[in-house]
């Protein structure tokens, strides 16, 4: 037992040395999570600010000005043109100069004063329907706020039911709060899976694998010696991503580190298991790398990182059950933002444990089989 542990320790040391020795690789592994967190944290936002819009105000009344002031005052809209011709609206939208164009009819104030419904036409560029939808929702909110003001100014009754909206865990509904913690899982998965996939493939390509096999290492020891260094590096990356989230983006951490790291370790085991399985199939480093990538893509896309799992078709939702990243993102979100304990994330832990067990045993079986 002791001898076995010593051998595993030697292999771990060797793996770490081999990877971390090369300055370029070391930088790649260490800087990448930080850079990606920063980049994604800033770039990947579905929140809108600074929506460029144009107005064709045919009324030019106090009411229409009040409505537009609502938009301009929201801080989200940025008026770039006051138009006089409807054709210009078309042109500005076609050329992507504005995202939204608003047209106010000449009788706007009059209709309001008469107690009628006064239409406001809002045209949005649907080339990115998500952004357009968000922009329309903002316009709707501004108009609703305008209505409320109008009603109170003119002594009219308020709308009969007021909907009180409240968001838990992320009161301001910032995309970043969602995304950056999710990256902790995504980035580490990419690197650990890739590292594990390459670790055996590299030895095979360089011919050192045979040399390793003639030493007293047992297959289980080799697997452990290959899995642990990749996991360690994954943990370091996860930690640096967490630090960026907390120290740079100031996203408050609500849960316990212990719970989080228990979850992360299980997740990394699963990721490394998949990586080693890829490694056991691949003949060359190139194959290992490309296969790993082909797997990482659907894992990342079907994880809920970019689009919610609940809006996927049922079949695809079933498929996500074998995706460790799905559980990891859920787990990190809930521990980080909601602050739940181990018992609450149990539903994320056991699937990852099963994935890890299955992939690691499959990899061990493949290694043994390829020796024959």
């Amino acid at each position: 037992m002791l001898a076995s542990l010593r051998r595993i320790a030697a292999l771990i040391r060797k793996e770490l040395l081999a990877v971390l020795k090369d300055a370029r690789t070391r930088n790649m592994l260490m800087l990448q999570p930080v850079l990606q967190c920063l980049l994604f944290g800033y770039a990947a936002t579905l929140d809108l600010n600074n929506v460029p819009y144009a107005v064709l105000d045919r009324d030019r009344s106090t009411a229409s000005s009040a409505l537009l002031a609502k938009l301009d005052g929201s801080g989200l809209f940025h008026r770039i043109a006051n138009l006089t011709d409807a054709a210009d609206m078309r042109r500005l939208i076609d050329n992507q100069q504005v995202l939204v164009a608003i047209q106010i009819e000449p009788d706007f104030q009059q209709r309001l004063a008469e107690g009628n419904v006064a239409p406001v036409q809002v045209i949005a560029d649907g080339r990115n329907s998500n952004t357009a939808g968000a922009a329309l929702a903002y316009v709707g909110a501004a108009v609703a706020s305008f209505n409320a003001d109008w009603a109170s100014d003119h002594g009219l009754p308020q709308p009969p039911i007021e909907v009180e909206e409240r968001a838990w865990y992320n009161a301001n509904l910032e995309t970043r709060w969602n995304l950056v913690p999710a990256l902790v899982g995504t980035i580490t998965m990419m690197s650990t899976l890739m590292l594990a996939a390459l670790s055996v493939a590299r030895e095979r390509e360089e011919g050192t694998f045979d040399q390793l096999l003639v030493t007293p290492f047992t297959p289980v020891e080799i697997m452990a010696g290959k899995a642990i260094p990749s996991m360690l590096m994954g943990l370091v990356q996860a930690t640096s991503a967490l630090l960026v989230a907390q120290l740079w983006f100031r996203i408050p951490f609500a849960g316990s580190y212990f719970t989080l790291y228990v979850g992360l370790i299980l997740f990394l085991l699963a990721a490394v298991g998949i990586g080693l399985f890829v490694s056991s199939i691949a003949a060359t480093m190139q194959q290992a790398m490309l296969y790993a990538f082909v797997l990482i893509m659907p894992f990342a896309l079907l994880s809920g990182l970019t689009t919610p799992i609940s809006s996927m078709p049922q079949v695809m939702q079933y498929f996500t059950a074998i995706n460790p990243l799905r559980y990891a993102i859920d787990l990190v979100h809930r521990i980080y933002l909601e602050g739940v304990g181990l018992d609450q994330v149990w539903s994320d832990l056991w699937p990852m444990a099963i994935i890890a067990t299955v992939t690691l045993s499959a990899a061990a079986w493949m290694f043994r089989r390829r020796l024959e």
């Binding site: 370029r24 809108l48 045209i123 949005a124 929702a137 009969p160 301001n172 509904l173 969602n178 790398m289």
Partner: protein
């Protein structure tokens, strides 16, 4: 030996292209990236990924069981956007939210009826704000559901006092995507990803592999010219990329019925330019680094990630901070995304197409020049 220098050149280029083509076809991993991945992405983007929110699980807590409250709950049940779970207490709902079983809670508090009588009716919608985007959409749908209940109410009780007073209402028009289908922009964006993958990611390995395996040393001491090596590295991956493009086009058109409003020729031209940019970038990375692992990692970070994040494909560049937006101008994929979205959904808007295409052409020329400078027949 043989005829003209040009014939010699052609023969050498063809021999190298044949070699490269065979390598692609025989290596299962190249095919995995060149064929399997595009197909998989098309299916994922077409069928699985959607930013449209539907069937969101919410808990409905009716502390007040008046008919008006029941009415509102029914309208949540009827809404295609929600999957309701009736629970009796707020505690229960809170637990469901904590365990991740529901994404939101709709609460009608016990004093609802009393306050409604006083003209101050209130309901509460609590959403899990982690995914801010979804949360916002859920809120909007919840508003709509409540409004729906009111309308039904009004229809059923024509005698009830009608709210009078002027109100501004929004008439929305979503141009280019009136169906409000997120596929309309995800699938054209997907073309960018696939071309980037085949063009840059796959090629980032091919030159480094020749260095690592030592195949270049023998190849260099033949009549082969550097430009011939370069051409032979570009052509097969260019063809593969065009194949991926056509596959995407076909699926966009026939599988997902995404409108195509511009000209096919313009689209092909733009795609070729971007493909050239990608291939040249992949080759440049590969010949500079000469290590497969590093080259593929750098290719991911330098080409694929920006194409995903900074191209305006998912995340609209109009909403990112200024400095990031400035960086995005350096990302070639940005111009291609803009071209694709315009050609697919808006038509031949030359004021967008011409400058974008011109930029891509310049970048392609520059990248090719850099790559050919990096392709030299020296070991040191």
């Amino acid at each position: 030996m043989t005829a003209s220098p040009f014939a010699d050149k052609t023969r050498r280029v063809l021999a190298l292209i044949r070699k490269e083509g065979r390598q692609v076809l025989r290596d299962p991993s190249s095919l995995a990236i060149g064929v399997v991945l595009p197909l998989m992405l098309i299916l994922l983007f077409g069928y699985a990924m959607s930013l449209d929110v539907k069937h969101v699980p919410i808990a409905v807590v009716l502390e007040d069981r008046s008919s008006q409250a029941q009415d509102i709950a029914t309208s949540f049940q009827l809404s295609p956007y929600f999957e309701t779970h009736q629970v009796t207490s707020m505690e229960e709902a809170r637990d469901m939210m904590l365990s991740g079983a529901v994404e939101g809670i709709f609460v009608v508090q016990s004093d609802f009826a009393r306050r409604a009588a006083a003209g101050d009716a209130r309901v509460q919608i609590i959403v899990n704000g982690i995914d801010g985007n979804t949360a916002r959409i859920v809120e909007a749908y919840a508003d709509a559901a409540v409004a729906q209940a009111r309308l039904r109410d009004a229809a059923e009780n024509p005698d009830a006092p009608v709210v009078s007073g002027g109100q501004a209402v929004v008439q929305n028009q979503l141009w280019f995507n009136s169906a409000n289908d997120s596929r309309y922009f995800l699938v054209p964006g997907l073309i960018v990803l696939i071309i980037t993958l085949i063009g840059a990611f796959l090629t980032s390995i091919v030159v480094a592999r020749e260095w690592e395996r030592g195949t270049f040393e023998a190849l260099f001491v033949t009549p082969v010219r550097p430009d011939e090596i370069l051409i032979s590295k570009i052509v097969p991956y260019f063809v593969l990329g065009m194949g991926g493009l056509l596959l995407c086009m076909a699926s966009a058109r026939f599988l997902f019925a995404i409108p195509f409003r511009g000209s096919f020729v313009v689209l092909m031209g733009a795609s070729m330019l971007y493909l050239l940019v990608s291939v040249a970038m992949g080759l440049l990375i590969s010949s500079t680094l000469r290590s497969q692992f590093l080259a593929c990692q750098v290719a991911l970070v330098a080409t694929f990630m920006p194409a995903l994040m900074l191209s305006g494909f998912i995340y609209d560049l109009r909403s990112v901070p200024l400095d990031i937006r400035l960086v995005s101008y350096l990302v070639p994929a940005r111009y291609y995304v803009s071209l694709l979205q315009t050609i697919f959904l808006a038509g031949n808007v030359w004021r967008i197409i011409l400058p974008d295409a011109a930029i891509l052409a310049v970048v392609a020329a520059g990248m090719l020049a850099l790559t050919s400078r990096a392709t030299r027949k020296f070991l040191d």
